[in-house]
Chain length 679, copies 3
């Protein structure tokens, strides 16, 4: 439970009362009650108002609105305003603003325009967090602390360079060690003095890609270390504020809202520091529901399966996409339940009342510009609020139990996408999604875990494109397979260590023995090229041929059984899919990217071997998940399609939690509809 | 009349005699006479020659060529050379060169590379203008003053920041007022001291778009104010020079050549300061003639319908486009007459003699590199010069009388295209062109006016995408409709005030009562999406269905009659086109972008209601306009097509002004041909 | 012969022993022997190791590996390490690092990150070259010196500005002269003091194009001079090092590896300074073999036909392309022989042993990550090494004898591609390739020469798009035709002098008399446009029509015979191809870009007139070249196709040099196969 004060789901929004008159505040209270809002986040961007000058603090207006909210039964998710420092601060302490990857020192403007290694920023952000924590130390309205907002902007200034050197000294201790791990014998890069180190930027080792393209770098090791360092620098900012808050708020959980599943931050490290995970979900209307599901599963994984909080979503329209379509009727509710279906205990929106000015004014809000509740979206929000309230604490703190895990790793992401060769299309998340989608379509739950996670509770672990692996990760994965687990991994895996140094002696390096193969060559296909895979009977009775693309490796089986072979080109007849017995388990290798159908066949086969069954076996075009608490099981059936779907439930009897009906045999679910079955 | 000295059309070119020997000057005179040139513009880029060092001025060479021209009956459009300062000046006063939006201080090079707020640039540009004015104060050759050249380059330097703050103090008086109008409660942007204000740039509030994409900004209000300020800063440069000239030249008109209908300058403000409007027309050969016509109409509108001057066009080829095709035979003449047909009293070229070096050397000129007149283009130039001369003062100072106006507004343009949401395809001019094109095809004249213009002489006013409107504009438009006018406006109109602050209380904000509707939602369609409109009998007897794209709004009629409804999606059956009676007039709303056919049906219907007839009713593929002076009417028929067109004139008798024939019944017009009918 | 010490082909690779333990060195020797490696290049990137601080030099490790190599019969191509200065050097002497075209001063990182005009860089690079030369002055292992690596990066710093001004003073002597040649009367650019001159950059006169687009400039003359100056500045760096080496190594040839046939360096100037030409060939797998052949011919032309050295190619995969496909079986060998077929006496690879870290680690090497020779590629390398060894000195120092030359000129390249107009598609190398390809398909050898080269040994000279020509070049070409040669040139040729100043008096300027034509207009076609050519009987008996694109000129024949006319548009019937008798020769003009078939017809006709026969007349899809030494002729037949090809040899008897067979009548050549016929 996020906080004992709220027994059921959190339901609310970011609230910016400082944009509105007190008259409007009263109307806000009225509308919050209509929508069943029980918590609001504030004051996310009010630093300048709370601290109008260096030694002046004014919480009076904030006291007033918090009291008003609390008197009306609405709790507060207390935000520190440190994502945007006041203009006076940037002016007086110019080292606070960011220097970008092109070496351009920014001036005041925008947001997240602070250097995480600026001593002044650190000092000011801790001070305001501490002042707020002290001021509100006994305030009963507070249920959660929300530090900063959507961390993620990197800086490349001299302060960062100094801090980077310090961080490197701590990590590598000696220059000899650093030179070896950075492979500086290449291109004369030997460092003889720590002070010779520059931050990797467009002025040194990085060629930033055009919009939508990946950055290139001369030294992956340096660039990856800078990502580690920057993720950590920002995390230090978070920790600095969290420590101040904790002095006065011993029990209240502290979080920060993650802006996306993106490469800037190593989120597993952030999960360790947050008391609960929370994030902001802004899918495009062109996103398949499975990618949204995946992102929720990642966030759930940050706290090892603990319920999380959806901190922001839009009631309907976004403003910053190229084409900002309205969410069609029912979709906001459907996506909200999808989030709960993947482990959330709260649904919140950005924002409460739609701004009248600046760049987010066309982002939908719970209260639109027209100012009243009698709109399509208003009615949907009221319905959802009422339903969540009616569920009471039923689903709260229930969890998802998965027998399958997919490995995801931020340093590997960085390693893969900084790689020069073999193919610019070798994007990491897309590769993961190929396997995630197969499980999603099979209605089998999956956890997203780090390569060093405890894998003992899983029967199958899938590690797509696990290019960069530490020795610890190798040992962990070998242990998992040795103890009877099934591992599925793919092309270009096991290649390098955590410094992006190739594990010599033949690909797939780390996994050569585990997989029982030697990969002689890694061939990259142009987007207009493809090959085929002829599969063996063990995999597909009909021995059909399937297409494959992207990468084809020239594989030699050393111990492994060949389950499929290439049908074209000079590696025709060479293995494309292999299976190797290792200890009590099996390690499967997929040396190319097969079409989705074949990945599904593959995943289904190994799940069947381990008796991993779908939650409900159905061909209907629905998403199905299950949360479990004590003996209660909550099955979520979500119809993202535009047509009615029918599902055979069989003999078992379920209660429809939302409508209260008793269900059995066949159940129908309307387009964009949601069913929560208890039973 | 631009100047009494020339009774007929101005005909000539930019002339750069300082690129040529005096021997060539004599040949130039010979050729000017052949082509019937009566005016040349000079010395546009000769500052370094006129002022070789800070305190040294040399007009002797200029005197010589001006005398030579005048002796040979050729007048002078006297240009100040201030669009490109001398290298010595940039070197000695480095604050003169521009700082770009990325914060990069430029060094000497290119042109329009001056900061409009540089005190040194202001001082030097006024000095040279004043010196020239004084030196030529009694010179009879001068018929026009041409200040600078193609103003439009913005600067972002510290001088500009200081000047911006001063401008803001004058506009907003108090910081409280500025904070409110800039909506700085968003993202902690409260300004406590004027000096905290930064110019909006890539280092602060702007994300410049890649080539062809729009810039994005966090604060539309600030970015729009900077455009107002920069347009005004450049206008102050113009005014500074004009004042110096006026000291010695009381009667000669002063202009500057506008480089394009582009967003940099609020041209209506420039029209107020110029004695006559003039511009440079450089269409691509892929431009439809209607967009060229539109641009001429904009320029004519800058001086409320007074005849304007085409200051530059190319005789044939341009040099700076990707593919610089030659103008096909007849096209140069046709486009020249099109310009006259839209209100010009002079046709001039860039340039007289083709340069031998630098980046414009492959831009065609009246005298090409071969150096003589016996070329295809030379002959076309001679023919045009002769024809214009033969027309004497017949068309001069005649005007276009329009009953229809289209509203165009620069701040609205800025507001629309800085908007974050709903769609990046929401470009302003393209939206205007949808309605302009319908009138163009119907052979109905149109004026382009500001929203605060006197609308009393129009029967129909069309305001496409009038997103941003001041209270004054609202009152003006309401008055127009109240007094019996017909207003047609579209989706996403009336939304914000002049600071880009939303007019709360329901879209279309400013126009909700006028239009009798409430717009609940604004949905953005991806380029591959479309909807349909089913129209009512009042609009189209056959009640056909039409396609629509781009934006579809969810509209509720409050008082309006519904003329068309959407055929698809969740707003199927909701109003797409409405008509509302207001006072003695009507206000029509089009909540999407219909296909061209439907816009034509709509425009035709409301024109018919107001008895606005085509100049000539014909299905022929021609452009038709009319200029009127006293009792004389001059009808221009322009055949932009590649086939012969036939037009029924009916019983009325006309004189063909160019050939002298008497025309009646049917007239034929050859491909690329021109007819000017008087009668 | 490159060096007497090696009688046959050089065969080896770049070797970076400092990336490896001495244990690995021993394994390297074993593998080198297997692959028949006889030379390695080192130490290309070891400056930091050789000179760990300003006054400290350490050659001990290098001595050790060189001795080891030499003891095992492997020679050394001794490289100076000056392409990447040590980090300590950049730190201590920050003026060494580059300033880019955007004015951004770089910090240490990457490679070729040095300013060629930095006095410190010049001093340090000469010192290390001198120290190495002295240290190894009697070392018998050295067969070649390799200065720096892939020169080509430009700098735009203040040191460069000062050096540029000095260079300009030397070139132009007076400012009057400079102003005239730069055409500074345009846009007020008159320079009154040398110090007013700025380097042409994005802050002054250049608009850098997006990736893949050309840069634009306001002043071509300045931008071209800066290219001349930069090419020369880098060449001065080369010469500085070469002088130091020459002090101790009187006989050993000195080279630098050219990175590509690219516009940065005027390679003919570099050819003058290098003792042998060498380059790095990195074709994409999508490149047609003819473009690779062309590049080899260019390199051979740099030393007027002397054998050259392929310094780098990849054994299979590259790393820096978007999609890095493996070279298919046989392709590495085929491309190696293609290089020899075009005049190379050595085949070397980048690199010997594949790096484990940094950005080139996925670039293939002779020893891959697996570390042994038992791979597909390993076997191909062994086969090639053995074959080359078996050829002994047979082909060494034989030459290609061409009767046809194609003119290529770097300043012209710069002039063409900086040109503003007529078409952005007017790329230089693509135009050359149209004619090169025709000769390639006809199996006729061609030399690539400068316009001022001795043309007397050629019967046909083709000068595609020779836009910019000096007076000397004109005289040289006129002399060639006057003495009986045949010249073929194309549209937009002869237009400007070496300063990009138009030769007034009618296009094609320099060549008007030679070609007997006047070009009145140059029309640019959009990519979706085309015209046609109807040819006369002299050119094609069937008088077929062919397509043409890109540029169509309006041509008037003054003395020339018309061989083809345009079929469309307003220049229908005007000449498209003309032939003019001049002295004892002929000058042919092609006023557009015809389809490949017509270019082949044209080239074939004029070759036939001059009795220039194919090496072997065959329709088979093969490449054929011939090298000649004394009375020996070596014919290379290369099958780049994927199918077996059959060639009729006729009665003549040949020896298959690789297999030793005697061949006559018909010979078969397998896909990717190579035949070397002696006879």
């Amino acid at each position: 439970m996020i906080n004992n004060k709220i027994k059921g789901f959190l339901y609310g929004a970011d609230y910016n009362p400082d944009q509105w008159s007190e008259e409007i505040w009263m109307e806000d209270i009225r509308l919050m009650k209509i929508h069943r809002v029980n918590v609001v986040t504030l004051p996310v961007f009010s630093w300048a108002k709370l601290q109008p000058s260096e030694n002046e603090f004014d919480f009076s207006w904030l006291d007033k609105i918090i009291n008003l909210l609390y008197e009306n039964g609405i709790y507060v998710n207390m935000a520190t305003p440190t994502a945007a420092q006041p203009a006076w601060m940037s002016k007086k302490y110019p080292d606070i603003t960011r220097t970008d990857i092109y070496g351009r020192k920014h001036k005041h403007g925008g947001r997240t325009n602070f250097c995480p290694n600026s001593p002044e920023y650190r000092r000011f952000s801790k001070t305001i967090a501490g002042k707020m924590a002290e001021h509100y130390k006994d305030n009963p309205a507070i249920v959660l602390w929300h530090v900063n907002n959507e961390y993620g902007a990197y800086c490349y200034c001299e302060n960062c360079r100094q801090a980077f050197i310090k961080w490197l000294k701590n990590k590598y201790v000696t220059l000899e060690n650093l030179n070896r791990c950075w492979y500086t014998s290449f291109w004369d890069h030997t460092i003889y003095d720590w002070d010779e180190i520059e931050v990797p930027s467009a002025l040194t080792e990085i060629l930033p890609g055009a919009s939508g393209e990946r950055d290139r770098t001369y030294f992956q090791s340096i660039a990856i270390d800078y990502r580690r360092f920057m993720s950590n620098s920002l995390l230090e900012c978070f920790k600095g504020e969290a420590e101040e808050i904790r002095k006065y708020h011993k029990e209240t959980p502290i979080t920060t809202n993650i802006w996306s599943i993106s490469p800037e931050l190593d989120l597993f490290r952030w999960g360790e520091q947050c008391d609960i995970a929370s994030w902001d979900s802004y899918p495009s209307i062109k996103d398949n529901p499975s990618i949204i599901a995946f992102r929720h599963d990642v966030v759930r994984g940050l706290k090892k399966g603990e319920p999380f909080l959806l901190m922001e979503q839009t009631p309907s329209q976004q403003n910053w996409q190229a084409y900002n379509a309205q969410k069609r009727p029912g979709v906001m509710r459907l996506l909200s339940y999808q989030c709960i279906a993947h482990g959330a205990d709260g649904i919140m929106f950005f924002q409460w009342r739609q701004s009248l000015g600046a760049c987010e004014k066309y982002h939908a809000a719970m209260v639109p510009h027209v100012g009243h509740e009698n709109t399509r979206i208003g009615k949907e929000l009221t319905q959802l609020g009422s339903e969540l309230k009616s569920l009471q604490d039923k689903i709260i703190y229930s969890k998802i139990e998965s027998k399958v895990a997919i490995i995801m790793d931020w340093p590997n992401w960085w390693g893969v996408e900084y790689s020069s060769g073999p193919s610019v299309d070798l994007t990491y998340i897309d590769r993961i999604m190929k396997y995630y989608r197969a499980l999603y379509d099979l209605h089998i739950s999956v956890d997203i875990v780090e390569p060093t996670a405890d894998l003992s509770k899983y029967k199958i672990v899938i590690a797509p494109l696990l290019y960069m692996v530490s020795d610890d990760s190798i040992a962990n994965i070998e242990k998992f397979v040795g103890h009877g687990g099934t591992l599925i991994t793919t092309f270009f895996s096991g290649i390098v260590d955590e410094n992006d140094i190739v594990r010599a002696g033949g690909y797939p390096g780390a996994f050569r023995e585990l997989l029982g193969i030697w990969v002689e060559e890694v061939d990259a296909l142009y987007p207009d090229m493809k090959n085929g895979i002829k599969v063996e009977k063990q995999l597909d009775e009909n021995q059909k041929s399937y297409e494959c693309k992207l990468i084809c490796e020239v594989v030699h089986s050393e111990n492994a059984v060949v389950l499929g072979t290439f049908t074209e080109d000079y590696y025709q007849g060479f293995p494309a899919i292999t299976e190797n017995v290792y200890g009590n388990g099996k390690a499967i290798y997929v040396a190319t990217e097969p079409e989705d159908n074949l990945i599904k066949v593959l995943v289904e086969k190994y799940c069947a071997e381990k008796n991993i069954e779908p939650i409900i076996k159905t061909n209907a075009d629905v998403e199905i998940t299950r949360r479990v608490k004590d003996s209660n099981k909550y099955i979520f059936i979500l119809n993202h399609s535009s047509s009615l779907q029918k599902i055979l439930l069989g003999e078992k009897t379920y209660t429809d939690l939302l409508k209260g009906d008793i269900l059995k045999n066949e159940v129908e679910i309307e387009p964009k509809g949601v069913l929560i079955l208890m039973g």
